[in-house]
Symmetry: C2
């Protein structure tokens, strides 16, 4: 079932896309139900393949932390559950909207349709394979997947289940395909396939996104990298603000919506920054602080353990760990200036009791999600009621911020007349 | 007012974009009113610059038809009117939508904002300069323009008015800038400016679009190329179908929504194709027909003047002139197959009285606009009530088909809480 070349895969995907666009909601549901079942039934084969990947990883001296991320042991029920959640979401395809009858009698509407063929390039965790397949299938799209080389055997085992499920529901098995080698040049080929692939979705670090954006002649969905800021104004409810910061930094530090830089109004810096540091140290956080904060802390604190003066580049680093940058700013304008310069346009917020300052911040900060008095951790499809999350877009076109099923669709205009001709 | 390098222009545009996003509707209106006025007041300077362009064009032995397209003589009132029309359209910026309060009390909405900086690359007619400037300004965006080399002097004269109008309204003059040389490498530089430019909009032929798509690391709005089809089913009201085809082909043959290929159901081919040809010949149309039609016509028609057998590549040609391809198909499936293979995904339609066939066609044809019983000429922002037309997109992301002001915007999520933290 694995196609000979990437070009050939594109061709097969495009044919499959024609059929997938017509698939009924029931057919798609059947495929997903079968897939969820097979994740139980085929546990043995999947875990064997997964074991082979882990052996190779050990031979290649990968870290135990990484090897643990690859492991599916005990995690298959959770994968099956993810599929079941997607089954319960409403099918977005076929919805008609902006329905109107023009003065000349033409009936016009937009009808929601799949985008077509997605190229999804991702790293490490094999659950992404099932996740992407379920979302792709639900939205009537097709996908060419390219997973991490460390999980190739696991991914191939999962792909086999996915294709069996498609066939069981009389859907084209080539709707989901996989580039099944570790060679880098096949990724480059995929990025050139603008005849058959409609959208590239990288899921990984900044480097992967950058590579796709510079190499692809297909539109690329950029996102997933978040250098997130919170500005604490002098008017903020400071004890509650500390808990928001604690949450934004420590609740899950390895993800893109975790806090990276705290900007503090100068008027409250001296009395409040030491409190923040003491509270966050309890969560295991260490700090990179600007020189003004550094001088302040040297004066005040008995120990500077876990606190360092910020180096060049620190403000442009997505920490993805228990590190927090702290900088003192003179006023809201300076905080906006800092964010405009260093934000990746993901999630940035203000903590304030001053309505006017809040409105200025909402106006001037042009990020995918802008917050007043809340943790940046809410930038998440599940938290915002989208059901599933496809990705978090930090680009401005098509979709911005958390993307759900609807954002994996497009529309066509449908115009119905009575042999209408245009007069002028 | 002309920046030294393209990179520098990008930097200035990005600064201007921050201010333009905050411009009030009144400020933007003032700038547009001043621009419309200046197009009257500065008639003499503009026409002098335009005369210089025409002299250069004559020296370069450009065709008289092309030189006529460059001319603004007598056309300035119409340009001013286009600006006035944009003034009357509603300002899309700042609108809030999908407003909701989550169960945890977070207030969430999306707010419509400008995209940012547009790079617009276009050819020939200088009215595009005013058109794009007005739409850009109304939507709070900024633009770096690169017009055709044949109209450089005219465009610079128009740019000067635009920048004066911006200044008069206390808006940053660098909101609209222009690459003021004829050198090709500056276009290449513009396409690499992903730090400051958010979207590339090519307005021109297929070659320009292709160039941008392959060279740009910025998202490109692809569109404007339409190989448009109509399939006439045996059940269609044939006399009325002929008038739709006449309209689609002859009303304005040089534009992208004009008909290129007529597909005729075999059951009606023999009696009806000769009628179509006789009617369209009165409109000056000539024909490229498939071999089956060719044999049929040889048998039936007294003269084959203006009729040729189709050559390889003809079905993939956007005629942009009074040429029509005609092919006989066995049934609707074959028409869909032909369209899937040769359409550019712009505008395709069916003429039929059979509701089921119409629905199959609407389902299976994945073009930006799909028609039942109407001329393809309606694919137009003005005709479909969008007010202004920015472009017609044939890509699937962001916007599809006619794009109005709203399609030159994006949104940001706004989340307001009461020191909310995420619990799981």
């Amino acid at each position: 079932m694995i196609a000979a070349s990437v070009k050939q895969m594109g061709h097969l995907a495009k044919q499959a896309a024609f059929l997938m666009a017509k698939a009924s909601p029931l057919q798609k549901e059947e495929a997903l139900v079968v897939l969820a079942d097979k994740l139980h039934e085929a546990e043995k084969e999947i875990l064997e393949a997964n074991e082979r990947d882990q052996c190779s990883a050990r031979l290649a001296h990968l870290s135990e932390a990484l090897i643990d991320r690859l492991s599916l042991k005990g995690r298959l029920p959770s994968l099956a559950n993810d599929v079941k959640k997607v089954i319960l979401l409403p099918d977005p395809i076929g919805e008609e909207f902006e329905i109107q009858t023009l003065p000349n009698g033409l009936r016009v509407c937009k009808r929601r349709v799949p985008i077509g063929v997605l190229g999804v390039i991702y790293e490490s965790r094999p659950n992404v394979t099932i996740d992407v397949a379920a979302l792709t299938l639900k939205t009537g799209n097709c996908a060419i997947l390219r997973g991490g080389s460390e999980t190739l055997q696991t991914n191939l085992a999962l792909l086999s289940l996915i294709q069996q499920a498609l066939q069981k529901a009389s859907l084209p098995p080539h709707a989901i395909q996989m580039i099944a080698t570790n060679a880098r040049e096949q990724v480059a080929q995929l990025l050139q396939l603008d005849e058959s692939v409609d959208l590239i979705i990288p899921r990984g670090g900044a480097e992967l996104h950058q590579y796709c954006r510079t190499q692809s002649r297909i539109p690329v969905l950029t996102g997933g990298v978040g250098i997130c800021h919170l500005f604490v104004d002098a008017s903020a409810d400071l004890p509650r603000a500390i808990e928001v910061i604690f949450n934004a930094k420590t609740q899950r530090p390895s993800v893109c919506n975790a806090l990276d830089t705290l900007l503090v109004h100068a008027d409250i810096a001296e009395r409040w920054i030491p409190e923040v540091i003491m509270r966050l140290k309890k969560g295991g956080v260490s700090f990179r602080v600007d020189s003004q904060t550094w001088q302040l802390l040297q004066r005040i604190l008995p120990s500077l353990e876990g606190i360092h003066e910020a180096q060049q580049g620190d403000w442009d680093t997505e920490w993805l760990s228990l590190v927090l940058g702290i900088r003192i700013v003179e006023n809201i304008d300076q905080s906006i200036e800092h964010i405009r310069q260093h934000s990746t346009g993901h999630s940035d917020g203000i903590l304030t009791e001053d309505r006017q300052q809040a409105e200025q911040f909402l106006q001037d900060i042009d990020s995918a999600v802008v917050y007043v008095n809340a943790s940046t951790r809410f930038t998440d499809g599940g938290q915002l009621g989208l059901g599933a999350e496809v990705a978090i877009s930090t680009q401005k076109l098509h979709a911005r911020g958390p993307m759900g099923l609807k954002e994996l669709t497009t529309y066509k205009w449908i115009i119905q007349g009575d042999y209408h001709v245009r007069l002028s």
